[in-house]
Subunit: 492 residues, 2 copies
């Protein structure tokens, strides 16, 4: 992996100067094309051995290109708000939007490698970290991101020489820290772990480019050229994104027996029992969320269901039991401009709760495999891969200690009609019923099929769906509260 | 202030039920109008005595209105990222955009009052806190925000009664905490401090509404009615925003003697001296930013100046001296959709650095009094008040320990022409010169006047402007670095 980056590559100043000017101008052209077309985002990862010139190359890229359309991000120790969320949150926070280039100096590779080098994780744990990265990068590439991964390499001898010479020069002495020398002592281990990680993460979509860090001219020209060629190739590619033709269709059960149709929607709860049990469940919920153990957990509750199924009403039976400082209800509607130029899940990552908090999503990331699928807002390849992306996303939440509770509220077609009509006749419910609701109703079967597929494919042990029979509102609300209480209880 | 909220207001259930339905429907109508017009944002502050039903009213508002267009925010202890920034950052973070309603349960009033009640601040410090709030709210109102401030009041006797009865009922016992009783013991002091704060912050734009909290029916109808009437009045107001006609014009110095023309642009630095001093200054800067004392400070550096004055070049001489994890360069261009529906300064607040960091703004909040003034993008009343708003903003940064360094880079009109032409002829500098630059150049005098006014009005002891003679790039870059080093040195 590193052999050819230990050959002592060099480029003479004269040759460098000649090439630099053209490279620089071409890079700017490419950058402007990218910004004008806004067809994809580019992410440049900068990793490697200390002293191999990573920082200098980053500075140079900023000198060469128009810094208005480049965002540099470097990561130190995570902040409290970052530690309170899954590991990847800090990276999602700063992903570049389409049309821009993000240079990530230190990134999702940093901690998995360091932790393994320090012996804080086992080899199996490293592999798990790596697999998560592979899936994440796969998602980025599927979303159209151009991902360029540079590894700056130095042999052990070269690293020692470099650190020593930086230290000798009074102008650069400050750049060498104790940490750099400690890193040097672990060179062998670092190299071994890095090689393993690079091997496992060099995918067809996003291979590593290993750059010998010894000679600045060589380093800069290599990085600049790779960036230029990659941008250019993508910008000049006239083909559209991967076409839907390659996606095999989902096959609905041939006997047309659907999960949702097996529910018994006739279950009801009397007014008296409802009142009593509602209070008791709210009390339980309140107690659990004030438990000292809850400070290390959080809850993400997802509400999906057909129109008029009673999502809002169910949510309003939960919130009075919670401290207002503790919860957020997020209504998912059309994405904003800043959201539209990011990978699909970005808009949900930004709302993830800190530890000790509850976030309730009224509609959610499942929109992609429901409304976007049925209405054709998402291409088949996009919603097909969404099942896997969503499972990945929820796995990361679950591993961080977030309790994920997902509700699908089901009503019958007849009950929906009754509620629509009631809404049209009640003044303060009028706003709840629009032309769109009537249009959606006509696609009842398509929505039912989409929901069935969704439940099949995303009900996991970590984040199971709870199907709620919602023809009777009281029954539905109690079932929701009851499930929530049981899930939190079990988790604590 | 509180007298009429201790009369024992009550509304019977029958009367309440009758009014509630209409109120609810009217509120929804108003909310939909607001969302459709997107002409302003509404902020509802909920403050007052514990046990006076604040939380219940917030829940009720969410039941009455369409939660898709309401955002509830409740504030507990600030997080590390919040503590790392000025006090108001956490509120700027969650301001509702135009067209929406934000309910702020616990807000900028909470800590100033609590700290004074606990004796952590003096009476003079409280007054300073209050004055800052007054200016902040004034800015919100000038930005078109509808600000509604509710104070939920209970007499001491009523508070005791309320806490006791909540505690007796097993269904609500959990709502009463030790903190509530501790608050009760300080009732007298709390009341005194609150009354002072309410008196000083009841302005014409945003008066307090004191609501007796004893009777839920009365409380809910009062709050609902005030919100409805305020929304309605504003929505139905056909008049536009305050017209520019009322704004007195700025008078330029009648002798036409302008600050910027007094600069000696002939100062130069030789190549040798430049090289030597650049290295030495970068070393100083690097040392200072790695000083342990710097962990409790941060730097906000602002670069403004005419086109082609060399802002980018100066910035690129700063960043190599910094740890990449430590700095951010923020290029200010046209605002995004999410930024356009917020008060003007929102887009800058979102980029404020944490402690121990450096943020460099390439163009900044001064755009409002420069390009927006000259090009007419902002109305005169908006850019006129911006001077005060900016000074306020910078005062808050300075009080938080942020070192603010502002550079105005000046070149002569002839030098600008020379650079424009050079840019057109150098391929990799081509992107730096556009039609717009040539258009702006025709307005040289107007820009010069705007810059002079800006420097006059916003050069403060806390955040002075440094005028940089930039005809000689080397001289300019050294002056910038030198100033930065001296300012940080002095601050540490």
């Amino acid at each position: 992996m590193f052999k050819s980056a230990e050959l002592g590559h060099r480029i003479e100043d004269a040759a460098y100067d000649k090439k630099e000017l053209a490279l620089r101008a071409d890079l700017l052209d490419a950058q402007y094309d990218l910004f004008a077309k806004k067809s994809f985002a580019a992410i440049i990862l900068i990793n490697g051995v200390d002293g191999a010139g990573k920082g200098e190359t980053v500075n140079l890229l900023n000198e060469w290109m128009d810094t208005r359309h480049i965002a540099n991000q470097a990561f130190g120790d995570p902040s409290e708000e970052e530690r309170d969320r899954p590991y990847m949150w800090r990276f999602w926070r700063v992903l570049p939007p389409r049309g821009k280039i993000g240079v990530l100096f230190g990134n999702w590779y940093t901690y998995p490698i360091i932790r393994r080098v320090n012996g804080d994780t086992s080899s199996a744990e490293l592999d798990a970290d790596v697999q998560r990265i592979v899936r994440f990068e796969r998602m980025l590439c599927d979303e159209g991101v151009l991902l360029l991964k540079f590894w700056f390499h130095l042999s052990k001898k070269a690293q020692k020489k470099r650190l020593t010479s930086l230290e000798k020069d009074p102008r650069t002495r400050w750049r060498v820290t104790k940490q750099d020398w400690r890193g040097f002592e672990r060179y062998g281990k670092f190299r071994k772990v890095s090689e393993r990680v690079l091997r496992q993460t060099s995918t067809g979509d996003a291979p590593w480019v290993v750059v010998e860090g010894l000679d600045a001219n060589y380093r800069n020209l290599t990085v600049g050229t790779v960036i230029l060629e990659s941008l250019r190739r993508r910008l000049d590619d006239k083909k559209a994104a991967p076409t839907a033709a390659h996606v095999p269709p989902l096959t609905p059960a041939i006997d047309n027996l659907r999960l949702l149709r097996t529910l018994n929607l006739r279950q009801t709860v009397s007014k008296e029992r409802y009142k009593k049990e509602l209070e008791s469940r709210q009390r339980d919920l309140s107690r659990l969320c004030r438990d000292s153990k809850f400070k290390k957990r959080s809850v993400v509750a997802v509400f999906e269901g057909s129109d008029a199924a009673g999502k809002g009403g169910a949510i309003r039976r939960i919130t009075p039991a919670l401290d207002a400082r503790q919860y957020q209800v997020i209504q998912i509607a059309a994405p904003t401009e800043e959201e539209r130029v990011q990978p699909y899940l970005w808009r949900f990552w930004r709302h993830l709760p800190r530890l000790g908090r509850v976030t309730i999503f009224d509609r959610s990331w499942y929109g992609r495999v429901l409304v976007e699928r049925v209405e054709g807002f998402a291409q088949p390849d996009a919603w097909m891969r969404a099942y896997g992306e969503i499972n990945d996303f929820e796995e990361q939440l679950a591993e961080h200690g977030i309790i994920i509770v997902k509700f699908w509220l089901t009503i019958s077609k007849a009950e929906q009609l009754r509620r629509f009509k009631e809404r049209e006749q009640t003044r303060f419910k009028r706003f709840k019923i629009t032309e769109e609701d009537w249009r959606n109703r006509k696609k009842w079967d398509a929505y039912e099929l989409a929901a069935t597929d969704m439940i099949d494919r995303t009900s996991t042990d970590l984040a199971p769906w709870t199907l709620v029979e919602a023809n009777d509102k009281r029954f539905a609300r109690l079932k929701v509260l009851d499930t929530l209480v049981r899930r939190i209880e079990k988790a604590l």
